[in-house]
């Protein structure tokens, strides 16, 4: 098990900068999620850790060893892909043993390791089948078995659940996390699904346009986004944003004013106000008009128009709201962002 350290990683494809100065440390045994929209550079970063791409600039360390120039096979990483990449012409057994064969592991040893890993993943009765005879969930287990059978120091997963249907995905993500903790293996998990990252990761690294916006525990990322984008990307529904003006402890939003929390007392000027749909009470505060209502059983999502800007709030299901009702919103927790840079103040 290793600690991974990425130092100022930059990757260019021709003129295009896919990654820009990424600094990131992943602790031994940690489950790190790389979270970002499609095209943000997550897979590229994962491939750089695996050694498939070489960074244009920057260094990669496993523990204290510099592995930047090591080929993939000398890094001892296990890789799982979104499409699972099982060899279609090989049986499950052959797929799993392929990495061991390449290492010239003895026959008996191979059998023992395969038995171990397939038992762990509950696929021991699928060994004679071919990939096309397996369900998506089974293929995914085989792919993980193939990555784990060589006892890698690092497990790298590139959106391994996004080809599964929604229910199975939720079931598998709990199992995968359990497995990772049981093995104590360092894992880097690429996903564009914020719920997946929040549910599984020890820490989340949010990437956008090749830049690292924030690294932190799910709670930190959720509660204290360092960037407007992070707030807007995480949570379902995501954080609300309104334009406001801060002055002497008062925040003006349109015609309404609310007091600023202590930590923002000294802020002055134009700001973006962010607050989570869960952190809003309906009572006094920002004026708005009910735009739509979605019932979710115990709760309901009420969309409120505040001077033309839409804000979503989650309130208990027992209150009735009608289209056009005047309401006042009181955010219990807010985050202020700089209007220009969109970073948290």
């Amino acid at each position: 098990m290793v600690r991974i350290r990425l130092e100022n990683i930059t990757k260019e494809f021709g003129d295009f900068k896919a990654l820009d100065g990424i600094d990131l440390e992943i602790e031994e045994g940690e489950f790190m999620a790389l979270l970002g929209p499609s095209g943000s550079g997550k897979s590229t970063l994962l491939y750089i850790i695996a050694g498939i791409y070489k960074p244009t600039k920057g260094r990669i360390y496993f523990d204290d060893g510099d592995v930047t120039d090591l080929p993939p096979k000398d890094r001892n990483v296990g890789l799982v892909f979104q499409n699972w990449a099982l060899y279609p012409h090989m049986s499950v057994f052959e797929n799993i043993t392929f990495p061991l064969e390449l290492r010239k592991v003895a026959k008996g040893e191979i059998r023992r390791k395969v038995a171990e890993v397939t038992e762990m993943l509950k696929i021991e009765n699928l060994l004679d089948r071919y990939p096309w005879q397996l369900s998506g969930g089974q293929q995914q287990r085989v792919a993980i078995a193939r990555a784990l059978v060589k006892e890698p120091d690092v497990l790298l997963l590139d959106e391994p659940l996004s080809n599964l249907d929604a229910l199975l995905r939720i079931e598998v993500r709990a199992e995968l996390k359990r497995l990772q903790k049981k093995l104590g293996i360092t894992a880097v998990y690429v996903t564009h699904d914020q719920a997946e990252a929040l549910a599984m990761a020890d820490r989340i690294a949010v990437i956008k346009d090749g830049r690292l916006l924030q690294v932190g525990t799910p709670e930190e990322i959720y509660e204290r986004p360092r960037h407007k984008f992070v707030g807007g990307f995480i949570g379902n529904p995501p954080m609300n944003f309104l334009n406001g003006f801060a002055d002497r402890g008062i925040l003006r939003i349109g015609k309404s004013t609310i007091p600023l929390p202590k930590e923002y007392e000294s802020v002055r000027g134009e700001v973006i106000v962010g607050f989570r749909p869960h952190d809003v009470e309906i009572g006094e505060g920002i004026e708005g008009e009910v735009y739509s209502v979605e019932h979710l059983g115990r709760e309901q999502i009420v969309t409120v128009s505040v001077e033309g800007e839409m804000v979503k709030v989650i309130v208990p299901g027992d209150r009735r709201f009608e289209f056009g009702d005047k309401v006042r919103l009181k955010p219990k927790k807010i985050v202020l962002f700089d209007k220009k840079t969109e970073t948290a103040i």
Partner: protein, 294 residues
């Protein structure tokens, strides 16, 4: 559709078979009902036994097809795999080069090789070798029988087929999810192991296709050979295959009956050869079994 098949395929086929049992010469209708049974076939068989020229043609056909086929399939596969592992930019330029035999008109393409293998010192090959001091007299490559003539015709046709194989294999390789290759590389597989264990098995269907297609086209093509023989670059007997013989006899020589009998034999070989390859390589099984890569 059916009418088209009837007009363009079935009628010519029936006519060919029928005319090969008549004594038809020069499209003269007076021979149309002059049935001679297996006479034309007997004559071909007799020629095979006693006519050294015809014997050479049969032998040339066999050697030409077998060796060119191997060159086509393995050359095309090798080039496709080679460029696959090269970087994309280098690979695509390099591949373009190999498309030249396909792009160039047959006459132009043949002319290039005519000058390359020319028997005098204007031949590129001869002048290079003489320049290097390896030979002192120009060598009439195409007139050395049998292997000189065979080498030239195999070389010229081989290049055309190689480019065909390469196109098919390259596009097939590009269909294979790149993750399969990445996964194998991460596990420590070399380019050779990846080719042998993953890429080639996945190209099985395409290999079969190229093999069959090339077999049938080698059996029937004669354009390049016709030019090379006419220009006197290669020996007439050892540069002629059965397909060219059919053309020469039936259409240039006017002995339609004789030529068409040879054509029928050629077709029978083609059809049975095609079926045999399909059978041997498990065509049906492949078609029935869902393939894993889709």
């Amino acid at each position: 559709m059916l009418v088209m098949v009837l007009i363009f395929y079935l009628i010519p086929l029936v006519m060919t078979v029928y005319l090969s049992f008549t004594s038809m010469k020069n499209w003269n209708v007076k021979y149309l009902f002059d049935l001679v049974g297996f006479y034309n076939y007997h004559r071909l068989f007799y020629m095979f036994q006693h006519d050294p020229s015809f014997k050479a043609i049969v032998l040339t056909t066999i050697v030409f097809i077998l060796i060119t086929l191997v060159v086509n399939v393995f050359g095309g596969l090798g080039l496709a795999l080679g460029t696959f592992f090269l970087s994309d930019i280098v690979g695509s330029k390099f591949r373009l080069l190999w498309l030249l035999p396909r792009i160039a008109p047959i006459a132009v393409y043949s002319l290039v090789w005519y000058y390359f293998f020319h028997e005098t010192s204007i031949g590129t090959l001869n002048s290079i070798l003489m320049e290097l001091g390896i030979i002192h007299q120009p060598i009439p490559w195409g007139q050395i029988i049998p292997w000189g003539a065979w080498s030239v015709i195999i070389f010229v046709n081989g290049l055309v087929g190689v480019s065909f194989g390469m196109i098919v294999f390259t596009s097939a390789l590009n269909q294979i999810p790149k993750e399969l290759v990445i996964a194998a590389r991460v596990d420590g597989a070399s380019a050779w192991t990846i080719s042998k264990r993953i890429l080639i098995p996945l190209l099985k269907w395409h290999l079969l296709y190229v093999l069959t297609w090339q077999f049938l086209s080698l059996l029937t093509t004669y354009c390049h050979l016709f030019l090379l023989v006419e220009w006197n670059l290669v020996n007439r007997d050892y540069g002629t295959t059965l397909a060219l013989y059919v053309y020469n006899t039936a259409f240039l020589g006017g002995e339609l009956d004789q030529g068409l009998a040879a054509a029928v034999i050629l077709s029978v070989i083609g059809v049975s050869g095609g079926f045999l390859t399909l059978k041997l390589l498990g065509f049906e099984k492949m078609m029935k079994r869902p393939r894993g890569d889709v």
